[in-house]
């Protein structure tokens, strides 16, 4: 019996909790991608670098706050800087829309033209981020590192296996729940949110109903920039900030949005967790877990790790390809790309 409990604790510590926080980060990223897709009808390849840019702004403000001697007690100072980072990201997104995407909207360009334009924007954001903060690794998490330490857990329960919950993981999940609840409330209950859904549903009829398309587009960028920055800062607090890693995050984020059904906010959330759990479970070495739950003579010799962590992106790729082949609309019947 204790073995099974130990096994569950082990699983929680190395799979459940990390995947939950990684999934939350992906879900927030995918939510932004899906909103842009629903309203502006293109896959925004610059979303990963928008995350990097917003996070960079937040980190710099965090440093500024440190320099002024401000801290947030047990919580990371970056949370205080986050609102300002979000504002900067919103401004950048709105300027980009005005300078780049609005031109193509007026031309009524094909979606693929928008996608290519967003690739250009991606490189620009990419460069801006690197000019300001460089290409290296930045760790900006401060405050209390753990909510629950391994030793504390062991003393508390008397189990062999330990369980640790990092502050960043708890913050990630709490913030994700709050942000997702807000976005859904906004989309379902407010006049502006409904106008956004109407515009996404049937552009011509929305125009006929007097919905101002420019306003809908602006609100969408504002939401997407905020979501990107929040996702980026949470990811950075949880792991670390490196511009290239954020660029790579684009793949699991798109996989999440597409698995869930692109254009469907609920799908983005579900997709984020599906991708995160698949990635973590496939790259986890199951030896310890299996040893605990099977009789001693059946314990595996190898690590029972399906894929090395270096190959974790392969998981997103496989999910992406399988979904596009088998069910292109995703779980929640989004649009077909």
């Amino acid at each position: 019996m204790t073995d099974i409990l130990n096994a569950l604790v082990l699983l929680s510590n190395f799979v459940l909790i990390p995947a939950l926080s990684y999934g939350s980060q992906l879900a927030l990223g995918a939510l932004g991608v899906t909103l842009i897709y629903a309203v502006l009808r293109f896959s925004n390849f610059a979303h990963g670098d928008m995350m990097a840019l917003g996070t960079m702004a937040t980190i710099m403000i965090t440093w500024g706050l440190h320099a002024m001697g401000v801290s947030f007690g047990p919580l990371p100072t970056a949370l205080l800087a986050l609102p300002f980072g979000i504002l900067i990201a919103m401004a950048v997104a709105l300027v980009t829309d005005r300078a780049v995407y609005r031109f193509y909207r007026k031309q009524r360009s094909a979606p693929v033209v928008f996608v290519m334009a967003s690739v250009g924007v991606m490189f620009m954001y990419n460069a801006i981020t690197r000019i300001f903060i460089g290409t290296g690794d930045q760790r900006f998490a401060d405050g209390e590192r753990f909510v629950l330490k391994v030793n504390e857990f062991k003393e508390l329960t008397g189990l062999d296996q330990g369980l640790a919950i990092r502050t960043s993981q708890l913050i990630t999940v709490v913030v994700m729940v709050a942000v997702v609840a807000f976005v859904f409330w906004f989309l379902q209950k407010t006049r502006t949110g409904k106008a956004m859904r109407a515009y996404s549903d049937n552009e011509d009829l929305a125009l006929l109903s007097g919905i101002n398309p420019d306003r809908v587009v602006r609100i969408t960028w504002i939401l997407a920039a905020a979501l990107a920055t929040i996702a980026g800062v949470l990811y950075g607090l949880d792991k670390s900030f490196r511009p290239f890693v954020y660029f790579q995050l684009l793949l699991p984020i798109f996989a999440s949005a597409i698995v869930g059904g692109i254009g469907q906010p609920l799908g983005a959330i579900a997709g984020g967790f599906i991708v995160a759990f698949s990635e973590v479970m496939v790259t986890y070495a199951w030896k310890g877990f299996i040893t605990l739950i099977v009789p001693a003579d059946m314990a595996p010799e190898g690590l029972v790790q399906l894929l090395g962590t270096d190959y974790k992106f392969a998981v997103s790729f496989i999910i992406l390809v399988v979904v596009l082949l088998v069910r292109p609309t995703g779980i929640f019947k989004g649009r077909v790309i």
């Binding site: 006049r191 409904k194 859904r197 109407a198 049937n202 109903s209 007097g210």
Partner: protein, 234 residues
């Protein structure tokens, strides 16, 4: 001068004209129906009146005011409602939300208007929280008409409201349209089901190749042997 009038309209989508000197008019509380063979420019004439087509010649007036240069959105603001033939509801939104979006330009309390739409289409009240995309063809048309009524228009324009619905549902929809006209709203519609539409019409316009061929009361057109033979199948 009629309440809504498109006078001597000439124009098309590209270089070639589709409408040639076409005139359509309707008064408050009246039903005007545009009929004619396929490709006669019926929908085009309607779109021209609503400002979705650039006119080279002619004018459109609403209540004596020249609205020829207004955008469709501005025409909605000035009291015109338009129900497109296809894609005329927000399929992923509930019936109630569809009606709310219809009232988007209104800043006042529109719950009274919504109640009146529900009185007109009781089934919609029952299905108010269902996505409009899950409704039957006839119910969807009701949502579409209801959405357009939410701005409290003085003119309601319907592009083939009965396309693709069963004969029973078609009769119901025509009954609804009569009720709406009785509220004092001017109704202009394009119809494929010419015979049934002319039956309820105060005024009928038979278009051929973008020009007026016959214009008369619905009754007179039904009685006209030439119209019967050529356009109503005998």
């Amino acid at each position: 001068m009629s309440f809504l009038a498109g006078t001597n309209m000439t124009g098309g989508y590209g270089a070639a004209d589709i409408l040639h000197d076409c005139t359509i008019a309707v008064d408050k509380g009246e039903i005007a129906v545009i009929v004619g063979p396929n490709g006669a420019g019926k929908s085009t004439a309607m779109k021209a009146v609503f400002g979705m087509l650039k006119l080279r010649q002619g004018s459109v007036t609403l209540d004596g005011r020249d609205i020829t240069n207004l955008t469709p959105q501005d025409r909605v603001q000035s009291g015109m409602g338009f129900v497109p033939q296809t894609n005329n509801v927000f399929v992923n939104m509930s019936v109630e939300e569809n009606l709310e979006m219809g009232a988007y330009i209104r800043d006042d309390d529109f719950s009274g208007t919504m109640d009146r739409v529900f009185d007109l289409f009781p089934i919609l009240k029952e299905k108010r929280s269902q996505p409009a995309g899950q409704l039957s063809g006839g119910q969807r048309q009701q949502v579409a008409v209801g959405r357009a009524l939410m701005t409290q228009p003085k003119v309601l324009m319907l592009d083939e409201p009965t396309a693709g619905v069963s004969p029973i549902v078609m009769d119901e929809l025509f009954d609804n349209i009569l009720e709406i006209a009785a509220l004092g709203i001017a109704i202009l519609m394009v119809e494929q089901n010419a015979r049934q539409a002319l039956n309820i019409a105060d005024k009928g316009y038979v278009l051929v190749q973008g020009a007026n061929r016959y214009t008369d009361t619905g009754e007179a057109l039904m009685a006209n042997p030439e119209v019967r033979k050529t356009f109503l199948g005998g």
